[in-house]
């Protein structure tokens, strides 16, 4: 994986719990432990806006498809929908009984789906002004660690060692037992596979339809941390954070370690997010966020 460090953002907001690109990868969001959410242009190391209003650490965020809204969630058990330009919280959704660990918009950004430590996944209607979730998915037996939404499937990873695919069109719920607590789960770019970061310091690749395991990627240490794993935009590499401060890249097909991007030695890289279209990456460790990619991205942007 031939990407190099482009920029380092000192977010100055405590530990960065997660870092996310927006829908086109032009900006990124950082969720700080100082209850703030920040919007950056990572290519220019430019802080665009700070969103304050969470009552506790911000744990996850997601930008809407038109980049007009941000949904964020935090340890204050709320999900907040922000107006990007004004920075005002549009809606504050209270319903979870514990930390809300992950939140995503659907493709149209008409639904925000959040997962929490209270084992619930809640579907919030962004369009209406109702304060109750549209639907609560209570199948999980333990905390929800990650959510991903495709056009008609909700993928949740849970600490009860299962990934669940809720298919809205067929009404099927496919739950795959992974054997280890799921730290993160995400579809590959082609939507045929699921990359699952497991609690036993291993990243596994599952076939979406059959549930069979296609690959295992290990070697990194995750310790007791919730480190995220992902797949890059070309579906060629599996990425994962690690305790040793490196971002590990595996070749998806061969299963070998392709490269290690040294973020900051000794600091846990807990959050990574690949660029949606380019082979770029943002990663967060401690209070720093780093942008990786090819140098020409800087010029073009």
């Amino acid at each position: 994986m031939d990407i190099e460090l482009l920029k380092t953002l000192d977010c100055n907001q405590g530990a960065v719990r997660s870092v996310r690109f927006n829908v086109d990868g032009a900006y990124c969001l950082t969720c700080g432990s100082d209850k703030k959410l920040k919007l950056w242009n990572p290519y220019r190391n430019l802080l665009l806006k700070t969103y304050a209003g969470h009552g506790n650490e911000v744990l996850d965020a997601c930008g809407s498809c038109d980049s007009s809204q941000i949904v964020s969630c935090g340890a204050d058990k709320t999900v907040i929908i922000w107006d990007v330009s004004t920075g005002a919280p549009l809606r504050r959704l209270r319903g979870h009984a514990s930390n809300v660990t992950c939140v995503r918009f659907n493709e149209e950004s008409s639904v925000a789906i959040s997962g929490s430590h209270d084992n619930c996944v809640m579907c919030w209607d962004v369009r209406s002004r109702k304060n109750e979730p549209m639907q609560v998915l209570k199948e999980a037996k333990d905390s929800i660690s990650s959510i991903q939404i495709t056009n008609h499937t909700i993928l949740t990873g849970s600490v009860d060692c299962r990934i669940r695919q809720y298919d809205l069109r067929t009404g099927d719920l496919v739950s795959d037992f992974v054997g280890e607590p799921v730290l993160s789960a995400s579809f590959t770019g082609d939507g045929q596979c699921i990359v699952v970061g497991c609690g036993d310091e291993c990243v596994r690749l599952f076939d979406k339809d059959s549930g069979e395991m296609l690959g295992e990627y290990s070697g990194h240490r995750t310790g007791d941390f919730r480190v995220e794993s992902a797949v890059d935009n070309t579906d060629a590499f599996i990425l994962s954070g690690a305790v040793d401060g490196n971002i590990w890249c595996w070749d998806m097909v061969k299963g070998e370690v392709a490269s290690k991007l040294q973020h900051s030695p000794g600091v846990v890289v807990n959050s990574i997010h690949p660029h949606p279209s380019k082979s770029a990456l943002v990663s967060a460790a401690g209070q720093n966020v780093k942008l990786w990619g090819k140098p020409e991205y800087l010029d073009s942007d």
């Binding site: 639904v111 639907q135 008609h152 009860d160 009404g171 739950s175 037992f177």
Partner: protein, 892 residues
């Protein structure tokens, strides 16, 4: 007497009221207080704000200008020097304030404060420098009597108090005056006697004139007039009579010259009784002076005579004196200090002590509240404790036994986690069967265990209760009446029995009632050691864990289940809501979701007598042009081949018609299983026949049914499960079988295909169906419900005008064949439907399936209950469907 003279006699005070005109109706209501406004002399409103009680000095009030007090500008020029202006308080006052009732009235009136020194100056306060500094205290207290100015003037002119005012008189003049006064003061009631008022004193005066002629020169001050004091009569006594009046001795002015009062002592207060109490009795002679005032002191109010009283007083005095002498022994009597008098009162040094009262014989020193007779526990014991079911007496061990907890062991070395985790389980295993077995009926508490004693306050009752428990255990509850004492009435016995039953139900061990509500901890709660290692929760079952360990992910680790996304969520995701089990619930929630088109078409349907048949008919017509038509043609081709086929099919059709509204989910029962099982057999045979006919099985009908379902069926569920059922049972799925089953359910769809489907070119769709069957979205296609509401929800853009086919079929009997056959075959069908009744018997004999032997009636009833079951099976079928699909592919 004229009115005018009357008027002249009256004196008027105040302002007269406005005369009330005769016509004027007085307003019913007086003006309420809140509407009454205080106005001044000029009719201006003076009080404003604060509930009109506040005084504001603003505009048109005490300040006469809009600006309020306008400050006077200072002007001074050489010509006109500014004069120094002094402001007086009056400058800030209104004229009313200086009026008669104002705060500073400017009227002449006598003042009371012409002080005697007549000096207007303020008295210089010369404070004393004596032992008490400041103003002399007595100055304010001892004020001199103030004489009015007039009195002082009179005094200065030589007047003395007690004298009358006027020129001095000689003796003779004075006598005359005295007489006049006497006459004037004499009350005369009635008419005055003639001549009595004339000068009568002339003769008397003349006689004395000579004798004291030398005193002519002496002049006397005239007598004082008694001011005529009008005393208001406030009692109902006769004139001049004063009743007994009791008041304190020192209350009023002591009139020395009035008859004395009667001093009495009442309630340690000296009271005096004035007035006349005793009139004259009828028998008494002396009635001359009825109004004489008696000296009350002349009356005796005691029985002893005055001499006795005197004697007693003397004795008392003597003894007192002796006592005093004895007390003041060292001193001689009268040897006390000069200026002091011996006190007459004896110092009351001795306190009186009273004997305690004698206690009544049955007296208890403790207060006992009176118990009501309804109170059962009238023993004065701790009732609460008794009614607390003895739980206050329980110790931890007993409680543990009640709760089925493992008994706390006597101190043992801290157990290892493994031993602890296993230790409680045997106990639980032992305990659980015990109560689960007993929980079938009333579960009594432990017999020997006197832990629960609901009737502890009544030992015999408690004993009976325990007996009752034993009886109930041995199912001999009736024996209770045998042990109940004969003194109890029948009602009491019944009551007690019900009490016992209640108690037995309530007081069974806790585990009995709530055992199922709690999950016992799998790990020991080591609250003392927070750092104790907690076992990690294990997810999944053993099989799954093993599979995951062996990396055999896939079928072993995958669980598929149903999930019902809510309608709104689907809407937001822009996907149609999948059909599922909760669909029924959904329809229950919104039973009617009418669209305008329902009504539009309903109106057109109204012209036709039988809408369901119409629907069927319409569908058939629609399908005639579609792929089904092809199938039908195939069937037609094979029609001549066998009689059996038609015989098989027809009964089913008959069913459909005879039992059209099989759409109420509540009516579905289990019996439908028969029809479900039977259908495969039909389709089986059909398929076989078809296969024989055509020599091959086309792969493409595989997907077609779905399409048909999506278009035509009210619930694709039913047909899907139908077809899947066929799939599961039959090795080969025939398209015709599909058609048959479809038609069975057809009458449920109460509306014709419409919207986009009305003009849908199904042929075109049919050609694409092969491709679709291979696409992974096949399932989604399946979920394409053809429910009307759903359709409408999913439709976007304007609806194409629907052109329902002409329907002129009046009766239902003719429809049946038409629905099944295309136009060419209709004649044949009519003939056969006539044979329906007969054919049914034939059908049963022909069918090889054992389940098919059930009668048509049975099937009829079972038909209604179809949906439910089908839905149940649906899930399983899906997999099988896939399998069969693949099989088809292989074969093709």
């Amino acid at each position: 007497m004229s009115d005018a003279s009357d008027d002249e006699d009256f004196a008027f005070y105040g302002t007269p009221l406005d005369p009330i005109e005769e016509d004027a109706i007085p307003s019913k209501k007086p003006t309420p207080i809140e509407d009454q406004v205080v106005k001044d002399k000029y009719g201006r409103r003076r009080f404003h704000g604060a509930f009109t009680g506040g005084f504001s000095a603003g505009y048109c009030n005490s300040v006469g200008s809009e600006e309020g007090w306008t400050p006077s500008s200072f002007k001074s020029s050489r010509a006109e020097k500014a004069s120094q202006q002094f402001q007086k308080p009056e400058d800030f006052m209104d004229e009313e304030d200086q009026g008669e009732f104002g705060i500073a009235p400017k009227v002449l009136r006598a003042t009371s404060d012409y002080n005697q020194s007549s000096s207007r100056k303020r008295a210089h306060s010369n404070y004393s420098t004596g032992p008490i500094p400041g103003q002399p205290v007595l100055r304010d207290i001892l004020l001199p009597v103030k004489d009015t100015v007039g009195v002082r003037l009179l005094r200065n002119m030589g007047w003395r108090p007690g004298q009358g005012v006027g020129p001095r008189l000689n003796r003779r003049q004075k006598k005359i005056q005295q007489k006049e006064i006497k006459q004037a003061s004499k009350k005369v009631y009635g008419c005055q006697l003639p001549g009595s008022s004339t000068h009568s004193g002339g003769s008397g005066g003349d006689s004395s004139d000579e004798s004291d002629s030398e005193m002519q020169s002496m002049t006397f001050a005239p007598d004082d007039y008694d001011a005529f004091v009008v005393k208001i009569k406030d009692d109902v006594f006769g004139i001049g009579y004063q009743g007994l009046d009791k008041r304190p001795v020192l209350s009023g002015h002591v009139q020395l010259f009035e008859p004395s009062f009667l001093g009495m002592q009442e309630k340690k207060k000296k009271v005096a009784i004035w007035g006349q109490a005793f009139g004259v009795g009828a028998l008494e002679e002396d009635d001359a002076d009825i109004y004489a005032r008696d000296d009350m002191a002349q009356y005796d109010f005691a029985l002893d005579t005055s001499s006795e009283i005197a004697q007693r007083k003397k004795d008392a005095r003597a003894t007192e004196h002796q006592k005093r002498l004895a007390l003041g022994a060292p001193r001689l009597a009268g040897a006390h200090i000069e200026g002091f008098v011996l006190g007459k009162k004896q110092p009351s040094s001795q306190r009186k002590f009273f004997r305690p009262p004698d206690l009544p014989p049955g007296f208890k020193a403790v207060h006992e509240t009176k118990q009501s007779r309804w109170d059962v526990n009238s023993k004065g014991e701790n009732v609460a404790k008794k009614q607390g079911l003895g739980r206050h007496d329980l110790d931890s061990r007993v409680r543990a036994s009640i709760l089925d907890e493992p008994l706390p062991k006597p101190p043992v070395p801290p157990p290892t986690p493994s031993s602890v985790s296993t230790a409680p389980s045997p106990v639980r295993q032992v305990a659980f069967p015990s109560f689960s077995a007993a929980s079938a009926d009333i579960l009594p508490l432990a017999v020997g265990g006197s832990t629960f004693q609901p009737f502890a306050s009544q030992p015999d009752k408690q004993a009976r209760y325990e007996k009752f428990l034993e009886f109930s255990r041995s199912a001999q509850k009736d024996l209770l009446s045998s042990i109940q004492p004969p003194s109890m009435t029948e009602w009491d016995k019944d009551h007690e029995r019900s009490e016992f039953e209640q108690a037995a139900r309530l007081y069974k061990p806790l585990s009995g009632i709530m055992g199922d509500r709690f999950v016992s901890a799998t790990q020991p709660d080591d609250s003392l050691n927070p750092l104790a290692s907690v076992e990690k929760m294990k997810h999944g079952n053993e099989e799954m864990r093993n599979a995951a360990k062996m990396k055999l992910f896939g079928k072993l680790t995958r669980i598929k289940s149903c999930w019902q996304p809510c309608a709104l969520l689907c809407k937001r995701f822009n996907v149609p809501q999948p059909t599922g089990i909760p669909d029924v619930l959904e329809s229950n929630k919104r039973p009617t979701n009418y669209s305008v088109f329902d009504f539009l078409e309903a109106s057109s349907h109204n012209t036709i007598s039988a809408p369901p048949e119409h629907v069927i008919q319409e569908k058939i017509q629609a399908s005639n042009s579609s792929t089904e038509g092809e199938i039908k043609e195939k069937i037609q081709a094979s029609n001549s081949a066998t009689e059996l086929r038609t015989k098989e099919i027809t009964p089913v059709r008959v069913e459909v018609i005879q039992d059209p509204p099989a759409q109420f989910p509540g009516e579905k029962q289990v019996t439908e299983g028969t029809i479900v099982k039977k259908l495969p057999s039909i389709s089986d045979t059909l398929a076989r026949l078809l296969a024989d006919e055509t020599g091959q099985i086309q792969p493409e009908p595989e997907e077609k049914p779905d399409l048909f379902k999506a278009i035509f069926l009210s619930s694709s569920e039913d047909s899907a499960s139908d077809s899947e059922d066929e799939n599961s049972t039959s090795k080969v799925e025939g398209a015709t079988g599909k058609v048959v089953t479809e038609e069975m359910i057809a009458p449920r769809n109460l509306s014709p295909p419409r919207g986009i489907f009305a003009n849908l070119d199904l042929d075109a769709l049919n050609t694409r169906s092969v491709k679709k069957s291979e696409s992974p979205k096949g399932k989604g296609e399946d979920s394409h419900k053809n429910e009307d509401q759903q359709d409408e929800e999913l439709l976007y853009g304007p609806r194409l005008p629907s052109a329902p086919p002409k329907l002129n079929i009046p009766s239902s009997s003719n429809i049946v064949p038409q629905q099944n056959e295309n136009a060419s075959a209709s004649a044949v069908w009519v003939e056969r439907t006539v044979k329906i009744e007969k054919a049914s018997g034939h059908y049963t004999s022909d069918s090889d399936d054992s389940s098919a032997s059930s009668s048509t009636e049975k099937r009829k009833s079972s038909k209604k209950k179809k949906h439910k079951k089908e839905k149940k099976i649906k899930k399983e079928k899906k997999h099988k469907k896939h399998k069969s699909k693949s099989k088809h592919k292989k074969k093709s």
